[in-house]
Amino acid sequence: MSEADMAIIKPEMMMKSYIWLETADGSIQQVEQEVAMYCPMICHEVLQKGLGAGSSKNCAISLPQRVNPAMLSLILDYCRFHQVPGRSNKERKVHDEKFIRMDTKRLCELASAADSLQLKPLVDLSSRALARIIEGKTPEEIREIFHLPDDLTEEEKLEPLKNLMDDPRIRLLNRLYAKKRKELKEREKLKGKEVEERVDERSVDDLLSFINGKDHKVVKTSKSKKKNKKRKEHKNKVSHNLHSKQQGTQSVVDETASSLGGVSNLPSIEDDIFSLKTDSEDGYMDDGMDPALREMLDREVEDFARRLNSSWVLSSGQERQPVHFSINGNGATRRLTAIDD
């Protein structure tokens, strides 16, 4: 609003005056004039249609469809605070931080309503808040939070990756290496962990009682111990089995049920078998893919490796064979070797 416009209006409306606003659902309310005029859209309507606009119930100003009564009242609260000229920047900031705290659904509605009323400061505030919510989330998480439909085909989901990779073949292969390396590492780690856990879990009493021949008791305690452990651990990594007691010595063999389909060759007394958790924060998360996508990529990567005449010798618990092959990239032949870290 220019100074001239203000000059015209002021003398006419010396007392506190109200503007009538109508939302899309037909409900009408009256609002203090200075508060409503803080919204550019309302301001323009008043100026365009002349001074009569909004002055009574009959000629209420129609608000855009995206503004529902709940949002209107929120927005008016915002305007009511900010249209007071005397406030310091710090005050305004503090108010905004508190104001913006609401659930995601309302935040979206607020952004939409503020946008249709052209109230830029509020659009910025709500957009920033929504941006903070989106940052760092995977596509699946974003879909969940905002209740969005999963309406892209698998190919379309893969497309973004093509843009990011400088050399797709190398990236795919690196992914294959990283995955295999990680799997091996997990297995080593688990084997190491088993030994520690075995030592920790067994108390002296248990050992004594076992040695004295009370097998069933040991089984029970190991079961309950295991259940406690299950509750304690966030990541389920091992399953406990009781080895045969032919030798009379107690040995608990912990085995990992590997998601690779590794074979456990001891009978399991316990029913629970914990599987390896394979998704984690490695290079995969960098590309922000959800597990379904990753699995598909993994399959593609393995196909690709096969196509390049590579052979992975992978049997449970045994070392894998290093593989040599070459690819052509930009005219230069490079040799890539699988490193056993």
Binding site: E109, S112, V123, S127, K137, F146, H147, L148, N163, G288
Partner: protein, 256 residues
């Protein structure tokens, strides 16, 4: 969110990061359309490009331009300065060719040779034959860089078969030209791995198989003017240095 118009979604996305936007294009159809829009990627591209910058041809969208600049540095300033973008923020990165640096005795063939290497970004790199007075300095206009960003400068180099004289740390400094130099102490950096005598910054291997060592850091604020002077020197020890191959000096943002 379904009710938000696409340009609202685009505005929200432009407040995130390039990586978040890429992820968003796998969320849903309406998100993808907003995430791929020029409005968003324009926001990540620099608001000011160097004077002799010309966008490569054949790039259909701003998103393509962004990633082209991330992965394929452009050569400017008579092919002596490479320009690219840092992928997570869109901040500007530069590398000055060895030819653009001031290398004392660099013009003298007895001491330095200029050779071409296939894995170098520039036509020539400087190969040290032998020198007593090692003094490599580079200057860059600070206005070329992105505002409100912390930058670091690195000497990019490697060794020939027979390096000599670099086991001890050497002096590195980074100053804003025109300020008082006298009281600024150069820092010591190690070009070679030498347990026991290493101080300060160490050389690291880069992904392009060259080495780099950090010469210093500085924060560029909006409106900063002047030149940044970066240098690497070894002029105090009375023996010769050999075998260093200098690619250039790279200036890029420090990532958290």
């Amino acid at each position: 969110m379904n009710n938000l118009p696409e340009d609202c979604i685009a505005k929200i996305l432009s407040l995130t990061s390039p990586r978040d936007v890429c992820r968003s294009s796998a969320v849903s159809r309406c998100f993808r359309s907003a995430a791929d829009s020029d409005h968003v990627w324009n926001h990540f591209l620099p608001s000011e490009f160097p004077e002799d910058f010309r966008a490569p041809e054949g790039l259909p969208t701003k998103k393509h331009l962004f990633f082209s600049l991330v992965h394929n540095p452009l050569l400017l300033h008579d092919s002596q300065l490479s320009f690219s973008l840092e992928r997570s923020t869109g901040n500007k990165c530069y590398m000055m060719a060895a030819r653009a640096l001031n290398i004392t005795w660099g013009h003298d063939q007895r001491y330095w040779q200029w050779i071409s290497l296939p894995d170098a970004r520039f036509k020539e790199v400087a190969a040290l034959k032998m020198v007593w007075w090692l003094d490599i300095t580079g200057k860059i206009n600070i206005s070329l860089l992105s505002d409100d960003t912390l930058y670091a400068a690195y000497l990019v180099f490697k060794w020939n078969l027979d390096p000599y004289g670099f086991r001890q740390p050497v002096e590195a400094s980074l100053v804003l030209a025109g300020t008082e130099h006298d009281d600024v102490q150069p820092s010591m950096v190690s070009l070679m791995h030498n347990p026991g005598s290493e101080q300060g910054q160490r050389a690291e291997l880069r992904s392009d198989d060259w080495y780099e060592v950090q010469l210093g850091q500085f924060f560029k604020r909006r409106g900063d003017m002047g030149e940044i002077e970066m240098s690497l020197k070894e002029t105090k020890r009375p023996f010769e240095k050999k075998g260093l191959i200098v690619h250039g000096i790279e200036i890029r943002p420090v990532l958290p």
